[in-house]
Amino acid sequence: MKRVEALLRFIWDFVTGDDWRIAAGVVLALGATSLASNGGNAVWWILPLAVAMLLALSVWAARRSR
């Protein structure tokens, strides 16, 4: 059981890295793009905008914590 727990923790750490909010934000942004594209709208801008915001927020949070 402990080994399974350790493996799951390793996978979580491997995917989320130093800031889990980046992984969560990427998943949300991809979901939002997918939902918005169903209406036939131009949705290419959603992901770059989300990525820029995620990166800026993440490095700013790191700066504040130091």
Partner: protein
Amino acid sequence: MSGPGFGLAISVFLACAVEAVEALTIVLAVGTTRSWRSAFIGVGAATAVLAVVTLALGPALTALPLSALRVVVGGLLLIFGLQWLRKAILRASGLKALHDEEAAFEHETAAARAAGRVDRSFDAYSFAISFKGVLLEGLEVVFIVLTFGANQHRIPLAAVAAAVALLVVVAAGIAVRAPLARVPENALKFGVGVMLTSFGIFWGAEGAGAHWPGGDAALLAIIPATLAFALMLVAALRGPRTSARDEDRATEAVRA
């Protein structure tokens, strides 16, 4: 070679080179201090595990429908790319210490010496540290090779780029017989982070149903825009004022 193919080869080569430099430092430290034989067995075992992971995940990824594949690949590239870029930005702006291979080598060497008596037949410490180091550094490379390669149906090209990087780093390590401290690791990580993030944005959005203005040519705008934004963040983090001079300083810091 096409533009995306060239981007694939360069990104995989640089990512693999950076990780290989870090793994080399660990193997050199336990090999020179304790047991080369056990360290090499650890490297071989980790390589075998990485090969199994590649063989298991590769066909699974390529079996996905194109749009699902692009969402998965784009998402993974974005998650890994943003992690690399975040770390490189924090290092370039002075908020995180630069990775120092000589310091890492000294740290690993001291830990290896403190680990007690060396078993001449099989040194478990050398094996475990080499195995763990190569596996952890290699796992990210495997994901990059698989995601880039699967999406363009060019896993062999990605694998060759990774193998060439590995050979170059190992040859350099054998030649200097010391950690490769002069490799500009942060600049490489910055570059790889920009490439992974850019391709992740492009493929992720396409997979989720977006259509890029200009089609594939949009990448020619996404890559420089990502680089410019990352440099702007470095300049902004380094001081309250952002100016052309700060941008120049940020570029120099990334190169350091």
